[in-house]
Structure formats: structure tokens, C-alpha cells
Amino acid sequence: MEKTQTMSFLKEVSQVPGGEGVNLCIQCGTCTASCPSAKIWEYTPSEVIAMVRADMRDAVLSSSSMWCCLSCYSCTVRCPRDVEPTSLFHALESLAIKHGYKPKNTTTPVMYNSFVKSIKKNGRVSEFQMMMGYYLSTNPFSALGMMSVAWKLLSHGRMPLSARKIKGKKDLDKIVKKLNEVRGAQ
């Protein structure tokens, strides 16, 4: 773990799955121009890439920018250098989590967390549990704004309140546990 702190940020990014393309970027701005959520990014997609190149670890990892990515892959199909910005932003998200950063001005990490929690609990996602988890740990009152939508889904039989657990739930736990041993050993 200590090692990663002395390694340059750029190098670290280029070594995580998804981050490999970072050095290919020519700052043409196509990704930013193609991005449907660019206007809510703290730094635009191409700026974030430039900042990684400039080794700005703290600024990048504490930013809410990459959490605004919708994973629509528009940038990825249009990037002339095959940087695969979508994967790069996912990689930055996972690095931010790994290094304990808590980005301000976005609740997306909380949403992702309650999603993963739901998977770990049952082996499948319960959309209801996922949403409850999210609203309870962000702002329970904002759940009120969601009531109309939730009710529509509920009354059309599209939002079961209880979750079905898979039979192989224990197997899944074992796989994840073993994976983390294997990974830790290296």
C-alpha cells in the first residue's frame, strides 16, 4: 500500500484496469464535447485527463467529476486515440474509494454503495432496498420527492419490497473472500 503513495499518480492510474489509455490522450476535447453530463462535472472529462497527466492526485481524487459519468460510452466511441475515457473514469472512481477520498457535491458513491450492499446481501439487486439504503444515508426527506415515481412502480407490480436470495449466496461470499485473499497475497 505504501508503495502506491511514492509512485506517481499518473503511473498508478496507467496501471489500474481501465486506466491504461491515459498516456494516449492528445487533449482534443472530443470526449467533453460528446458528454451528456459535462455541464455538471466539476472539471470536464478532458480536463480531468489533463489533471491526471499533470499528476494532480488530490485534486482529481477528491473531485466529484468522474462520479458524474453516466457510462454512456459516447466519449469512448468517438475518442480518436482509443483512450477509453469511460473506463478511465471508472478507474478513477475505484482509486478514490481505495484511497479513502469522500468527494463533495455528489451522492453517487453512496448510491453505488447501496447498490453493491444489496448485491452482497442477496446475490441480486433489490431495487427497493437499494433506493431505501440510498435515501436513508443521504437525505430521507428527498425520498418524498421520489414517492410519486416509487408509487407508480409499486402499484404496477414493478417494485417488490422483499428481495429474493439466491441459493448460492454462500458460494458468492466464498468467491469474493477468496478473491481478496488472492489479491492481498500479491
Partner: protein, 289 residues
């Protein structure tokens, strides 16, 4: 009859019940045997991959390993599951070290992933194995005169696993025409609706949905079809919110493409989950039901 291993995806048990029932029904009518993957788990999902890519791949790999044992292609009707499972497959194919780690983890429960299973999207299998011509030949109620906006969304075509053009896909248009309806020009056909970001970034996503609905309405569509569970849920369940925010009165039913095919095949409403739709499609479909 061709057989497939079927991966319904988590949303098939909740927001996308309609996709699941209609997929099973049309498959039966078109001579595809879908055998549900036994005790499948969540595909791994984009959020999981963002938080911990390797763990997400291992979770996906349990499904791939189970599916591989059946010797059949793995098909899913869900665009997101398709992307997640394909991504895990390709990562393991391109990075033998990663695959080795995942296999060490799978070995803990006596599974192994060799890398032979094919991951396919249901509508791709429909197009390639069944073909549009066969679908047409089985149509009992041609949807003559119905104006449909073909909304493919982003996941199905954009990441490198897609089978259609990444920005101007045509498979959905072909299917719409194959069942006798008219596919209206729809420039937004592969634009993103925001997906699950609607939970954390509602304002932005409502704006994206407004543009999608507006584009469909402007081009004269009476309904929208999509293969994607999230696109369907967003445009259907949030349509009222779009209306109140933008002062519009869109009333566009959002059908799964499998529901549209089912109507044309003459299948009964309850076999297509049409009652699960929030913007009621009955008026638009009245002539054909």
C-alpha cells in the same frame, strides 16, 4: 428449435418484469428455447465495477462459469447485463493473469471459467438466428400505421461489444418494420437517458429524458420502443415528472421491443406484461390487441 441459456437480470424481478415475460413469450412463439441459468446472481453491474472492478468481474464470472457448463450461448434481454457480462468475459480473455486470479477464487466453490461461453443480447439472437423475415412470416396482426420511435439507448451498442452501429443503430428499426409498423426518424435513438444516475442526479436526467420524449413526439411517434430496462423505466415512470417540470403533456407509451413483437405475433396481453406499463399503451395498441 435452438436452445439458449437465459440470463434474466435482477431488474426482470422488479422494474423490468414486462421485459422478462414478453421475452419468454415471444421466444416460445418464435421457436427459441430459453433455459433459465440456474441460480444466477447479479451480473456484477456498472456501480460494482466502479467501486471494485476485480470483485465485480469475479461476481460476473460465477454466472459465466455456470453458463459454460450448459454448453449453450448465454442470452440476456437486458442491455446492462449484456455489457457487464461481456466486459468481464473480454477482460478475462485479454488478461490471463486476471483470469487466473478469478479462477483461483472460483475454485473455492468448485467452479472454473474456461472462456468458451458466448454472451449475447436477446435481440441480436433474434436478428441473427431467427431473422427479421421469419418474424414477419409469423406476424398475425401487422401493426400497420403504428408510428414508433426506435430507442436503442447507449449500453446496447456503444461499448465495443455491440452488434449494431454505435451511434446510428438500425436493428430496432428493422424489427419495427418487420412487424408492420413504421419506424419514425429518431435522431436521439442512441442518446443516453441518464440510466441509474436518475437517483443521484435527477435534474440532469429529467432534462435528458425531456429531450428524448420531445424528439419522439416531434417526429410523430405514438409510442417509443426500447430493449433496455433502464431506458424503459426512466421514460415510463418519470414521464409525469418531465411533464410537470417542462410544462409539457407527453403521453407516450414506452414499450419493450419484445412487447411490440408479441402484440404483432397475436399473443395475449398478460403474456406480454402490458399491464405493468405506467403510461397506458392500450389506446395506442387498441387496433391490434
Amino acid at each position: 428449435m435452438k436452445s439458449y441459456t437465459y440470463f434474466p437480470g435482477c431488474s426482470s424481478e422488479a422494474t423490468a418484469v414486462g421485459l422478462d415475460v414478453s421475452s419468454r413469450s415471444i421466444a416460445e412463439a418464435l421457436g427459441m428455447e430459453l433455459k433459465e441459468l440456474e441460480d444466477w446472481n447479479c451480473c456484477g453491474s456498472t456501480p460494482y465495477g466502479s467501486l471494485d472492478e476485480l470483485e465485480a468481474i469475479a461476481v460476473a464470472a460465477r454466472n459465466l462459469a455456470l453458463a459454460e457448463k450448459t454448453g449453450l450461448d448465454l442470452v440476456t434481454p437486458c442491455s446492462s447485463c449484456f455489457v457487464t457480462l461481456s466486459k468481464a468475459r473480454v477482460h478475462m480473455m485479454e488478461k490471463p493473469q486476471l483470469k487466473a486470479k478469478v479462477n483461483q477464487a472460483l475454485a473455492a466453490v468448485g467452479l472454473e471459467y474456461k472462456g468458451t461461453v458466448k454472451v449475447r443480447l436477446l435481440i441480436e439472437a433474434l436478428m441473427s438466428d431467427i431473422t427479421a423475415e421469419t418474424i414477419t412470416s409469423k406476424v398475425k396482426k401487422p401493426l400497420k400505421g403504428l408510428k414508433v420511435a426506435p430507442y436503442t439507448g447507449c449500453q446496447e451498442v456503444r461499448p465495443r461489444f455491440g452488434f449494431d452501429h454505435p451511434e446510428n443503430p438500425i436493428a430496432l428499426d428493422t424489427i419495427v418494420e418487420a412487424v408492420g409498423a413504421d419506424a419514425v426518424p429518431y435522431p436521439s435513438k442512441s442518446k443516453c437517458c441518464g440510466g441509474s444516475a436518475v437517483i443521484a442526479e435527477e435534474g440532469l436526467c429529467i432534462e435528458l429524458m425531456y429531450k428524448l420524449l420531445d424528439d419522439a413526439a416531434k417526429n410523430g411517434a405514438e409510442c417509443i420502443v426500447t430493449p433496455c430496462p433502464l431506458c424503459q423505466m426512466n421514460l415510463d415512470a418519470y414521464q409525469a415528472k418531465v411533464n410537470s417540470k417542462y410544462n409539457t403533456n407527453f403521453n407516450l407509451p414506452v414499450l419493450f421491443v419484445t412487447q411490440l413483437i408479441g402484440v404483432a405475433l397475436g399473443l395475449k396481453q398478460d403474456k406480454l406484461g402490458l399491464k405493468k406499463n405506467i403510461v397506458n399503451p392500450n389506446k395506442v395498441l387498441a387496433k391490434y390487441l
